[in-house]
């Protein structure tokens, strides 16, 4: 029997020699089908086998340690997501509360379009006329620039069959003498249509006899509409309706 079959320690051989002779010895035993005897197989081979299995187990065990860290991380992420979700819901509610759902008017002065709408739906788009952006100057030095004012406004009043009280510039434009305030020549009926919405500072949304000019910049600052659109808008809005002109 080869020396490698002898028990390690008793044989007194160095580990390297044992290893070198032990593996071939084990292989020869397996090849001959002889039953492995713990005492006959080189101890080193068994040590190697156990160490390999132990290392595999330790590696698996180490993965168990990172798993708990993973769970902690997930828990923290879930909490963060929950907080963000709640914050966003709060912000969403705050923004939703700003929308009253009421109808408002938007006037696009570049394209001469008046839109009657809510936040989510457009009710009507009307062709309108806005300020001519023309400049008129009187001999006395007074001058006027005819532009529809931009910004946000509120319907302050509603009129039926509005009367036009001619301002000074309307006489200056026609090279006519300017009558005193309250003079009957200043009162003109039937030129502003059947309805008017008052926006303040003398500005209105009203009708016009110059329907062929709708869609252009032809007014002296007011917003002019055709008869049908004017009636629809007048009936849809109320005092307090917002008007946005840009």
């Amino acid at each position: 029997m080869p020396a490698s079959y002898q028990r390690w320690g008793k044989s007194g051989e160095a580990p390297k020699t044992v290893l070198k002779s032990g593996i071939p010895a084990f292989a020869r035993m397996a090849a001959y089908g002889r039953k492995a005897n713990f005492h006959m197989v080189n101890k080193t081979v068994w040590v190697m086998l156990f160490c390999l299995i132990a290392l595999a187990g330790i590696a698996a065990d180490r993965s168990g340690i990172s798993e708990s860290k993973l769970r902690d991380e997930i828990s923290s992420l879930e909490q963060t997501a929950q907080e963000l979700e709640e914050q966003n819901q709060g912000l969403g509610r705050m923004l939703s509360a700003l929308d009253s759902g009421e109808i408002y008017i938007v006037v696009d002065t570049e394209n001469n379009r008046l839109t009657l709408r809510t936040e989510d739906a457009v009710m009507r788009v009307a062709v309108c006329g806005t300020g001519s952006r023309q400049f008129v100057e009187e001999e006395t030095g007074r001058n006027w620039f005819f532009e529809t004012p931009l910004g946000s406004f509120t319907v302050l009043g509603k009129e039926r069959n509005p009367v036009w009280i001619r301002p000074d510039w309307s006489f200056v434009e026609e090279n006519m003498p300017v009558p005193p305030k309250g003079h009957p020549d200043r009162i003109v009926r039937g030129v502003l249509g059947k309805y008017a919405l008052l926006l303040g500072s003398g500005y209105k949304i009203h009708g016009t006899t110059f329907t062929n000019l709708l869609g252009t910049h032809f007014t002296h600052g007011c917003v002019s509409l055709g008869d049908r659109d004017l009636e629809a808008v007048y009936k849809a809005v109320k005092i307090g309706t917002k008007v946005y002109i840009y």
Partner: protein, 185 residues
Amino acid sequence: MNIKWIIVLVSLFATGADSGALDISEQRQLIEKRTALTRRIEHLKQEQDFLLFQKEFSTLDSKYLILDLAERKGQLKYKHVVLKDFQFTTSPVSAYKKIPSGALTLTSRVEKPRARMSLAFGKTLVIWSKAGESSGKKQRGIVYLTVKRKDLVSISYALEDGAQAYIIPSSGLRAKIGVTKSVRD
């Protein structure tokens, strides 16, 4: 063999003995869950940024744009009020993948001639009309939004220099632009 060695080796074996196969699959599930949560948090942060933008501009006296690149829809807004809805085409088509969500600032504009009217938001985005598209030269790296001329005219008139445009690149954000219905009598 020395009995001590047997005890040591068996102990080594026992420390490692574990149901390794089950842990790996469970671990994979946990990693996937973590990835999904990270993605969700990112989405929620984007959503919050948009909500905070709207909250800030609900009080400012300034008009701004909201641009949904995925849906190719835009809104001109003032405070919380929609002044105008418009649509656009994008170049490149997958523009929503090119620009991250967030606010851009109007840095320059061309107003005349009208055919070449355009609005530039840094070196990121340009809004122009079809006429501008055919006469202008596209630069690499810039996303171009083509709108109708009348829309461009009114948007350009409405926006001041330095105005903001907020980009919503992905669908699914809670506070994205809704569909504006048209109700005519």
